[in-house]
C-alpha cells in the first residue's frame, strides 16, 4: 500500500532532469545535436537561412528589433563570453566551493596576454623586437596567444592559490578580491601594459584588425559569436569530464566537508589548486576572446564590479550546475539589452528607461529575489542518478 503511494508520488514529481536522464543515450545525443545546431543558427534567429522568409514570433527575441536596440550578433557574442566565464567560475565557486571574488583578474590576464604579445602597438612586442633581432612587424600569432593566455592564467591561478588556499571561506574571498584589484592596478600603473591608455590593434584569428578581414570583422560579429560558441562547447565537454571524474568528486567532497574529505584520502590542497588553475584557464580564454573582439582594452574594463557580476551570474543561475551558471550568464547579459530595445519602460522617468544603464541595481534586485525564493539558484545542482538498477541485483552476496 505504502509502496504504491510512493511510486505514485514519485511519478508526479518527475522533473525535467529525471526525464532527461531517463532518455536512452542515442536520443539524448540527437537532442544535444539539435540544440547545438540551433545555437549555431541563433545569429539568423527569425529568418530561414537562404531565403527571405521569416518565422513569425522568433524575431521578437532579437535585441535589434526595436529602436535603439543593440546589434544582435555582438550581444550573442557577449553572452557566449560571459557563459564561458560563468562556466569557469562555476568550477571554482560551484564545484569546489571556493568563493573567488577576484575572477576578473584572470579575465584581465587572458585579455592582456593576447594584447601584450599579439598587438603591433604593445610595448612588450616593441621591447622584444628591439632586443631580439625580430622582424619590424613581428608579433606573436593569435593561435599562439591562445596557448600563452591559457598557460599564463593557469600559472597565475596557481600563484594565487599556492599561498591563499590555506584560507577558508570569507578569508579566501577577501584575498581573491584583492587579487582582482592588484591585477587591474598593475595594468593601469605600469608602462609595460600601456597604462591607463590601454592597448589597441589587438589581433583576432585573421590577424590584426583591418578592413580586409573577411570573417572576423568589426561590422559583422557573426563569426565572433560562432568562435566563442565553439569555445563554450569545448569547455562544457572538458568540465563535464572533470565533473564526473575523481577530480570532480574531490571538489564536491571538499565543498561539502573538507576535513572529512581529507580523512577519506582526498588531497585537498592539490585538488583546490586544480580547481583554481582550471577555472583561471577558462577565465583567461574568455578574456582573450573578449580582447580580440574588442580589439582594444584598457584597465578600466576590468573593475571589481565585473567580478561581482560574474559571481552573481553563477549564484543566480545555480552554483554547481553548468546549465544553471550558463543560464545565469545569459539572463544577466541578454535581458538588460532586450529590455533596452523593448521600449517598455517609457512610463518611467527618462533616466530609468534604459535598463542597461542601471543594470547593477537590477542585478542586486535579482540576487535578493532569487536568494529569497530559490536560494539554490534558478537551476539547482542535482547529482546525476546512475543507471544501476539492474546491476545492483547482480552483485554477488558477500559472506
Amino acid at each position: 500500500m505504502t509502496a504504491n503511494e510512493n511510486t505514485v508520488t514519485k511519478k508526479k514529481k518527475r522533473s525535467f532532469a529525471d526525464r532527461w536522464n531517463g532518455l536512452p543515450g542515442w536520443s539524448r545525443f540527437f537532442w544535444i545535436m539539435g540544440g547545438v545546431i540551433f545555437l549555431f543558427y541563433l545569429p539568423e534567429l527569425g529568418n530561414i537561412p537562404g531565403t527571405n522568409l521569416e518565422i513569425p514570433g522568433l524575431g521578437f527575441l532579437r535585441t535589434d528589433v526595436g529602436v535603439g536596440g543593440s546589434d544582435w550578433d555582438s550581444i550573442l557574442f557577449r553572452c557566449a563570453v560571459f557563459v564561458l566565464i560563468a562556466l569557469g567560475l562555476n568550477v571554482v565557486v560551484g564545484l569546489a566551493g571556493l568563493l573567488d571574488l577576484g575572477y576578473v583578474g584572470f579575465f584581465a590576464i587572458g585579455a592582456y596576454s593576447v594584447a601584450l604579445f599579439g598587438s603591433q602597438q604593445s610595448p612588450v612586442v616593441k621591447l622584444l623586437r628591439a632586443n631580439f633581432d625580430l622582424a619590424p612587424d613581428w608579433a606573436l600569432a593569435w593561435s599562439w596567444c591562445i596557448l600563452l593566455a591559457i598557460v599564463l592564467t593557469m600559472f597565475s591561478g596557481v600563484l594565487l592559490g599556492w599561498p591563499t588556499l590555506r584560507l577558508r571561506g570569507d578569508y579566501l574571498a577577501i584575498v581573491t578580491l584583492g587579487f582582482g584589484e592588484i591585477i587591474r592596478i598593475i595594468a593601469r600603473n605600469s608602462t609595460i601594459t600601456g597604462g591607463p591608455d590601454g592597448i589597441t590593434a589587438i589581433p583576432g584569428p585573421e590577424g590584426a584588425p583591418n578592413a580586409q578581414n573577411k570573417y572576423f570583422s568589426i561590422l559583422d560579429q557573426k563569426w565572433w559569436y560562432w568562435l566563442a560558441l565553439v569555445a563554450v562547447l569545448v569547455v562544457i565537454l572538458a568540465v563535464r569530464r572533470l565533473e564526473n571524474s575523481r577530480v570532480g568528486r574531490s571538489w564536491l567532497a571538499i565543498r561539502e566537508d573538507e576535513d572529512a574529505a581529507a580523512v577519506m584520502g582526498v588531497h585537498g590542497f592539490k585538488f583546490k589548486l586544480w580547481a583554481f588553475a582550471i577555472g583561471a584557464a577558462i577565465g583567461g580564454l574568455s578574456g582573450l576572446l573578449f580582447a580580440s573582439q574588442q580589439a582594444f582594452i584598457d584597465p578600466s574594463q576590468f573593475n571589481v564590479n565585473l567580478s561581482i557580476l560574474f559571481v552573481a551570474m553563477v549564484v543566480v543561475g545555480g552554483a554547481g550546475n553548468m546549465a544553471g551558471a550558463a543560464l545565469g550568464a545569459i539572463l544577466l547579459t541578454y535581458l538588460p539589452e532586450r529590455l533596452r530595445s523593448l521600449g517598455a519602460l517609457e512610463f518611467l522617468p527618462e533616466r530609468f528607461q534604459d535598463p542597461a544603464e542601471f543594470r547593477y541595481l537590477l542585478f542586486g534586485l535579482a540576487m535578493v529575489v532569487v536568494m529569497i525564493l530559490r536560494p539554490q539558484g534558478l537551476l539547482p545542482s542535482k547529482r546525476r542518478a546512475r543507471e544501476l538498477k539492474d546491476r545492483a541485483q547482480e552483485v554477488p552476496v558477500n559472506g
Binding site: 536512452p24 542515442w26 569530464r241 572533470l242 575523481r246 564536491l252 567532497a253 580523512v263 547529482r383 552483485v395
Partner: protein, 295 residues
C-alpha cells in the same frame, strides 16, 4: 596469540590543548586482525585518541606507529593512504552527493588519475574485455547505441580514467551491498535514514581499502535489533581481514564483539585486556559507577 603482529602502536601519546591534558601518555597495541574496543566515560579522550591517530590533531608528544612507519605528524590524507580509515561520531557524509558518490570518494583514494588524465583520457589501453562498456539493452535503438559505444571503445581503447571509474563503481556497489545499503545508491546522502547514513560512512571508509578501520560510536542512536545487525557487520568486516578499532558506549555490544578492550578515563589508560577481565576490573567499575565514599 603471541605470534600475531602489531599493526598499530600508540606509544606514549600525549595531547594537550593549552592547559587541558586530553590524552596523558596513552599507550596500547593493536594486533593484526583483531577487534579492539576503546571505551571510557564521556570526555575520557576516546575521540581525541582517534583524531591523534588519523592526523586531525598532532600529538604533543609520543608517536603513533602504523604498519612499521610513524604516522603521527603526517597529513590526514597521507595517513589514509597508508591504510587507516575512520568514521565519525557525528556523521560527516558529503550530504549533497549521492550515496554511491560518497563511496566513490573513498575508492578514489587508491586512484592515480588526476585532472590531465580525466581531461585527455590518457593513457589508453586496448583489448581488455572487462574495460569495455556493457551492452545491456535487449534490442532496438538502445542496443545499437550501446553496441556502437562498445565498438568505439574497442577501436579507440579505454582510458585509465574510465577503467578506474568502472572498477570503482563495481567496488562501491559491492561495498554498499556488503553494508546492506545498495538500494540507496542513487539517493542523496542527506536524504538517507539515520541508520543507512551510519552504514554509508562505514562503506565509504572501507572503500579506501584500509588495513585498520576505526569506528567512532557506530551504534549511537540504534535500537537493539539494529545493534545486533551492526555487530554482525563488524564481525563480517573483521573476517575480510580488516582490523577494527571500535569506540562504543553500549557495553553489551562491546562485550559481544571485541577481542580486547582498552579503557580510558580522563585521558589515561586505566585498563587493557580481554572483555571479561576488563568488566571485573575494579578501576573500570569505579570509573563508570563512581567510588563509594570511604567515610
Amino acid at each position: 596469540m603471541a605470534e600475531r603482529s602489531v599493526l598499530l602502536k600508540v606509544d606514549n601519546v600525549t595531547l594537550k590543548f593549552g592547559g587541558v591534558v586530553a590524552l596523558d601518555s596513552v599507550s596500547f597495541d593493536l594486533y593484526q586482525g583483531e577487534i579492539l574496543g576503546l571505551i571510557g566515560p564521556n570526555g575520557a579522550g576516546k575521540t581525541t585518541c582517534f583524531n591523534a591517530m588519523t592526523g586531525v590533531y598532532r600529538p604533543t608528544s609520543g608517536q603513533v606507529v602504523f604498519d612499521g612507519q610513524t604516522v603521527s605528524g603526517k597529513k590526514p590524507y597521507e595517513i589514509n593512504h597508508s591504510g587507516i580509515a575512520r568514521t565519525f561520531q557525528n556523521i560527516r557524509l558529503f550530504p549533497e552527493m549521492t550515496a554511491l558518490e560518497n563511496v566513490l570518494v573513498g575508492t578514489d583514494s587508491r586512484h592515480k588519475v588526476s585532472a590531465p588524465g580525466a581531461l585527455f583520457g590518457l593513457p589508453r589501453r586496448w583489448g581488455h574485455e572487462e574495460d569495455l562498456p556493457e551492452v545491456r539493452a535487449k534490442g532496438g535503438p538502445d542496443r545499437s547505441w550501446q553496441e556502437f559505444k562498445r565498438s568505439a571503445a574497442k577501436f579507440f581503447g579505454v582510458s585509465r580514467h574510465m577503467q578506474e571509474e568502472r572498477a570503482a563503481e563495481r567496488k562501491a556497489l559491492e561495498l554498499m551491498h556488503f553494508c546492506g545499503i545498495e538500494r540507496a545508491a542513487n539517493e542523496q546522502a542527506r536524504n538517507l535514514p539515520y541508520g543507512s547514513q551510519r552504514r554509508l560512512e562505514i562503506a565509504r571508509a572501507l572503500a579506501t581499502e584500509p588495513k585498520l578501520l576505526c569506528l567512532d560510536e557506530p551504534a549511537a542512536g540504534f535500537n537493539p535489533a539494529e545493534k545486533v545487525e551492526l555487530m554482525d557487520l563488524i564481525k563480517k568486516i573483521r573476517d575480510t581481514g580488516v582490523t577494527v578499532l571500535l569506540i562504543e558506549h553500549d557495553m553489551r555490544l562491546v562485550m559481544g564483539v571485541t577481542d580486547r578492550i582498552v579503557v580510558l578515563e580522563f585521558g589515561r589508560k586505566i585498563a587493557d585486556g580481554a572483555p571479561a577481565e576488563v568488566r571485573d576490573n575494579p578501576k573500570v567499575i569505579a570509573a563508570y559507577l563512581g567510588v563509594p565514599d570511604a567515610a
